[in-house]
Symmetry: D2
Subunit: 293 residues, 4 copies
């Protein structure tokens, strides 16, 4: 018995599913040394099929941010990013792109700092924009211009993605927020000004950089800049953060800034984020400049 | 800092996502001793929220079969069955049901027997219908009648599900085949009649119980019986088994047996089976008798 | 040239699409004389395939309400109800049901009274519950019990459907609101108390029977009753009524009354209501008692 | 009572739904005189919002072909093309494009010639490529290059779209076939060679230009050319033309020409074609060259 259907099944099981469609994509995990943070920071990157052979091509890049308790591998392990990417690129729903998942957290938020913003002893945003992005885009032939960059994320990373695009509207073509932590308005959630734990710092940073207030308080210059980014807000109808996302969308409406808004079935769950990819990837794809023609 | 949004995030991470919607579902793994197989066989079962308190209720049951190289935990680990079930029951897309994932395989098909059919030294089908099902339905207050049973599966398990329902049409109300191994018609795939390895036996069993031939050769009595089951065939446009599924559907059409048929984007991949659940679970739900009223 | 594919195309064009799946559904328009309104009121009704032959069967019934400027034929002419029904029943997405589209409006709201509520000289709600429903359910062998009745509607009819189910929770198993006029809170929209035009009356009735306030002001007895209905709110992200629908959903959340909520792409348009049927029909179907077994 | 919600409802009803999103699209019907056909041929064209003001811009163009018994207004009247276009452009699912719906048929196929191919006394394909397309693209600032043209159609028009792109692969970037008449293989459907009615001529033309044979008989040069077009085949599981579409897809697979294939729920019905737009418009959009940057 030489080549059989069952052998084909065996082969399929042994290799990545991507192999069905020819050249294979790769997922690579590495670290980058940050002077700002004084530490090595891990990251994981998805490189589309053809990346290694089509060496003259510059790819668009999606920065895809994890939530609290997550890390650089969460989008791969829990949301099966590479599988969805492979399928969506194969069928044209997504353009070939580099997807970068940084590490801005850890499983124990009192022991490890979580968060995408600058905080005392955690200048993460400085690291992200001045060290991480330039290094990634150089090494992986991606981004390099607003038209080739998007940012997305879930929960804490959805707030991070939104805030990054709000305060760097010339950097990103599009931002997609999933179940996003847009703000923490509840006074009961506010730690004492003197509280010094990592969660207290994180809470303060989310409040200070409230995505809702950033829009609500925008003057016309800021509004104009914000209109230069394509926005998408996606939140489950059972998500405990739904009201914050509604406030954000309503603030955008009042400010006259176009935003796509979807409320789908679900809660604050990995299943919601898996299915959010089906909308997110085509959305960022159509908002990238083309590099293939 | 007492109850905060971040604490809520923490709580969410610590507990099952199901917890958002009240009482929690359970996933339980155990073994059952089979006299037929002369061994303990593992299985995993999803019990819907309320199962433990609503003790007078009998639930419908879905037998959900894994593919080659899979086992009783594949649907949980790779396809996140419990998460999807929790969400779909919460929103009403699926009715509360027990989902049973048996073990009919193993990672090395030459070392461990794979397959849902009776073969020499592997009377799996006998085990399934005379030992496994009765035991499960007694222990977990489910099934007990055709109107409360459905069967579904992926790849080898899609063929298994189809064949089980074909040859036991009075046992199942509905059958849902994903990327199903409906037959192995290719002569090159046929092991010599004397070949004795486990894969050779499996190949022969799939050919002997060809789902396509079972319909194509059906007389009117068999056709009539087959019309008593609700059928659904779901296969990716890049799946190497697509043509077999097409043959099955065409045979069903010629025999005048209604069948739902969908070809969606994708290949022979876990991502396809994850998304198949979104169609499969409502399908079996609406074909169950109701036990809630 | 006898029976050809082109002849088949011809036949298809000549007859209703429903014919492909065997016995045909019917759409019938008639009037009913209302003593309350002192006039003949038109209505249109969809009768599923088999209705005329399966004469012992009682069907579930969906009351499907049009919006301002619409009439009893809008759901058929603009949203192609019969086509969607035929397809969804054929594939099992919807159960066979009678769908009734009453007439509560007209193209010129200053000339013809619009609205589902009792107003001076327009006791429409009395007509609906004491004359229309009983007559329809007797004549078309449908409804007759809460478990066999649902109500849905678009815009003004979405508010009507919601309010009917709110104030008659023992009458309907489920309510589905599309782009619903849940309230008119804007003070500028309030006509002077003495204003006497038809639009002034309609505006006052919508405010008085505010769907939002009905929940917000509910005591526990009312909340309990409201939990006995299955609720679904579906509104476009570009709909000018989105904020009212959000208020309704938030009030339901605060009152602890489960509600499904979806925000999809779109505005206050027929296209939104066409696609809402794809969600609405399975939703009401799964909330009906079964009459087929 | 000045500006009220009810007045807003009134305004909405009075104007096109497109108006909600700013500048309005237009639908225009006109005729073009054909020397080839010796007659004026009607056509209808959708012009996206901004077309009249952004006069320096060249738009991509989709030629969208009706089926037998249809005409240039069918896509507007029966499938609500303009509404879907407006919504999809507003949300970014489709790029702004010109959509042209020609007239190649009529309600009585024995009285009026139907079809997209050259036949005796009906050199429609000559008209289409040498008169119609150039005139349309000049007048409406669209197309002008392969990267800015796509073709799609339903039933007879799905076969027309496929065959046009097969034999003019340098003209179209993408082709989308809905419920397509890919061939008429049934001998019983073949009119006698001498039959001279309009349906006989049409039948012969469809057989002679069989989309299936065009692929099956392709040498490597033709296959190479066909790989330069993006193909999509979409056909209902209850469509009587499904087997023809399957043959086409299987021929494409054997020839190594990538093709997207979907089988969704439904028959040969307007509802299928309405929902096909949701897939077709993003598909052609992502395969157009960009003209906006």
């Amino acid at each position: 018995m030489k080549r059989t259907i069952l052998a084909a099944l065996a082969a399929l099981a042994a290799i990545s599913a991507a192999a069905q469609w020819g050249p294979r994509s790769r997922v690579l995990t590495d670290t980058i040394h940050s002077r700002a943070l004084g530490a090595d920071r891990p990251f994981t990157v998805y490189l589309p099929a053809g990346f290694d052979t089509d060496t003259a091509r510059t790819y668009p890049v999606l920065y895809l941010l994890h939530g609290m308790y997550g890390n650089n591998t969460s989008w791969q392990h829990d949301m099966h990013l590479a599988e969805v990417m492979d399928q969506y690129i194969a069928s044209g729903e997504a353009v070939p792109m580099v997807v970068v998942t940084p590490h801005a957290g850890g499983a124990d938020p009192e022991a490890e700092q979580n968060g995408y913003f600058n905080m005392p002893d955690w200048p993460y945003e400085d690291f992200f924009f001045t060290e991480f992005m330039p290094s990634i885009e150089r090494r992986f032939r991606c981004g390099g211009a607003k038209g080739l960059r998007a940012v997305a994320g879930l929960s804490m990373g959805g707030g991070g993605a939104t805030s990054y695009a709000q305060r760097h509207p010339d950097t990103f073509a599009a931002a997609y927020a999933m179940s996003a932590l847009m703000d923490i308005p509840d006074e009961r959630a506010v730690p004492a000004a003197t509280a010094d734990g990592k969660v207290a710092r994180l809470t303060r940073s989310v409040r200070e950089l409230s995505c809702v207030r950033h829009v609500a308080e925008a003057d016309e210059a800021r509004r104009h800049a914000l209109r230069g980014v394509q926005w998408f807000v996606d939140c489950g109808d059972d998500d405990f953060l739904l009201d914050r996302n509604i406030e954000f969308v309503q603030a955008m409406h009042r400010a006259g800034i176009p935003v796509q808004f979807r409320v789908r079935d679900g809660g604050h769950t990995p299943e919601y984020w898996r299915t959010a990819l089906y909308t997110c990837l085509p959305f960022v794809s159509r908002n990238f400049d083309r590099t293939d023609r």
